[in-house]
Symmetry: none
Subunit: 181 residues, 4 copies
Amino acid sequence: MSDKKSKVLQVATKLFAENGFENTSMANICDEANVSKGLIYHHFKSKESILIEIFTNVTNQMIEMNSAPKSSQKPQRQLIHLIETIFSQLEHDKLFFQLNLNIMFQPITRQILKEQIEKRAALLFNSVKSIFDQISLKESTLLSYIFIAEIDGIALNYLSVFNEYPLDMIKEALVNKYKHF
Amino acid sequence: MSDKKSKVLQVATKLFAENGFENTSMANICDEANVSKGLIYHHFKSKESILIEIFTNVTNQMIEMNSAPKSSQKPQRQLIHLIETIFSQLEHDKLFFQLNLNIMFQPITRQILKEQIEKRAALLFNSVKSIFDQISLKESTLLSYIFIAEIDGIALNYLSVFNEYPLDMIKEALVNKYKHF
Amino acid sequence: MSDKKSKVLQVATKLFAENGFENTSMANICDEANVSKGLIYHHFKSKESILIEIFTNVTNQMIEMNSAPKSSQKPQRQLIHLIETIFSQLEHDKLFFQLNLNIMFQPITRQILKEQIEKRAALLFNSVKSIFDQISLKESTLLSYIFIAEIDGIALNYLSVFNEYPLDMIKEALVNKYKHF
Amino acid sequence: MSDKKSKVLQVATKLFAENGFENTSMANICDEANVSKGLIYHHFKSKESILIEIFTNVTNQMIEMNSAPKSSQKPQRQLIHLIETIFSQLEHDKLFFQLNLNIMFQPITRQILKEQIEKRAALLFNSVKSIFDQISLKESTLLSYIFIAEIDGIALNYLSVFNEYPLDMIKEALVNKYKHF
DNA sequence: CATGAATGAGCTTTCATTCAT
DNA sequence: CATGAATGAAAGCTCATTCAT
């Protein structure tokens, strides 16, 4: 990918996250990326297509990560590893998580990325379920839904509800819950 | 409140929920409410102020409901009652919950309603905590955060992540968790 | 004239002078005069007609003053008296003079008040000329034009060109010029 | 400067002069300049900025003219030359002078161009004073103010007060006054 | 006399997109 | 690859005026 194109993607990600897709204009992106309008339209069909490419890149990363050989650890350890990975990302890339939530709840962007959103959800769900399958085949579906809801709820509250969220304390509680599951 | 004004609020609520704040134009609202632009600006200072009024109305309803005399039931019963109330609303007023999430994750609308969002969060938190205080004064803060995260996570997954979400099954699991807490 | 009507005229004069005719809305006038829209339109046919009435009132005052019995003083004394009257008004009612200049140079308002402006100019010219006639019948026309130009130029420079205008010094010079004319 | 941009400036100058700044809409300018709205906003930040650019261009021309080497003629000749230059412009570019007066007396436009108006006034004053300095250092300030007031007053009366103004006769009188000063 | 709800045309400005160079 | 002039639709908002009460 050309330097300029990846610069555009990087700038667009930042601006979409900070101001929302609707409140970021192509001119904003041009200015910040030091690129002309013509060039953006040389690389991308439309503003939507920038969003799609950003989202797709992340989805592909997720797929890649997921296709890694399954850990042979105990399922409880796997869950704790997953929790720790997610919380670590959450803390270090708030803006990116906010962008994802923003996209998912804006009706317009949601529709644009409907398929990808569903694909990602399925990916995560299956990944989690494959762990819980090792604990209880009968209950793995329910347990997966609950696990994902817990994680998403914490993220939502941390990012957008409470001003001073005791993320560490809650993470610890979650880890404890699944340690002796 | 005049007929026309409340019609505008009602139409705006619907359109904001369906299409998002940014993707709903004043003209859209006029058309749907059968009202002229001038009239909207006679009743509301700006498009923002419509959003604020919608949000404030709901906040005030929440405050009112919250000021009702405390139930004398066991805290476990109170929690279950709360869960059932929220899930019932969730199912019957999807659009309204979607609007709230949409507002909270759009940077622009989020900023407009920052104070109100915080006020609501505090309200809900205190309400939940006053129940958990009756169970364990020492752990009530942590338990409240977790309870709220669970509810929010389920709502988020139900509304915007999974296509076919087994809401009833999950609600049942949640009720069971808190029944014998 | 009703209290409310004269309040409207007074407020409109102030706002037109401060912000210009085009930048004063009927709503502004209503707010400042504590009067409803309906009432303004009960007393005045339109926004223009308020302006016309303001201007006409002043013109009529000028006519009245002018119809006073001619002074029997020496023409030089009469000129000096005129100069002193005008300079005194200029200093004590800056806003009002500014309004007049504003009206005369705004193409739209100028057209609305074309006739009145011309009537006033003729009135002033004849008044001045009748003094100079007593000095030199042959040159009175030219002298009148020059006298009026001097006065208007000073007013213009005082009101709208120079930041710190030595009005007194210039007035003195003018008085000296005409004292021994 | 691009063809289209200078066309916009030219058309805007004409329309502002004819109808006033407030009564000239961007759509008017577009129509007359055969240009799209988008293009105007590509070249100018706002309607105000068009006005500023028009005014600045003229100010810069004035500065340039003023920086020409001083004439070595007698000061009386210099004054007469100045009078003749101004009167000639006045006759040949009425619309332009009207625009300037219009701008100076409209509160809104006046504020926008406050600095420039003051800069111009200082420029003219210093230019005139440097001539009178050669006649009487002690009285040059007063004489300059009077000279400028005479010129401005005549312009004002010619352009906006009297219907049939004997400009030539008055110019002659002025020239005579300063010829033997 | 008095109110203020209601209208609709028109305002300035923004923006995704196209295209000649 | 790269520029930026150019478009035109649509946005939020203002305002003089009307009219039922």
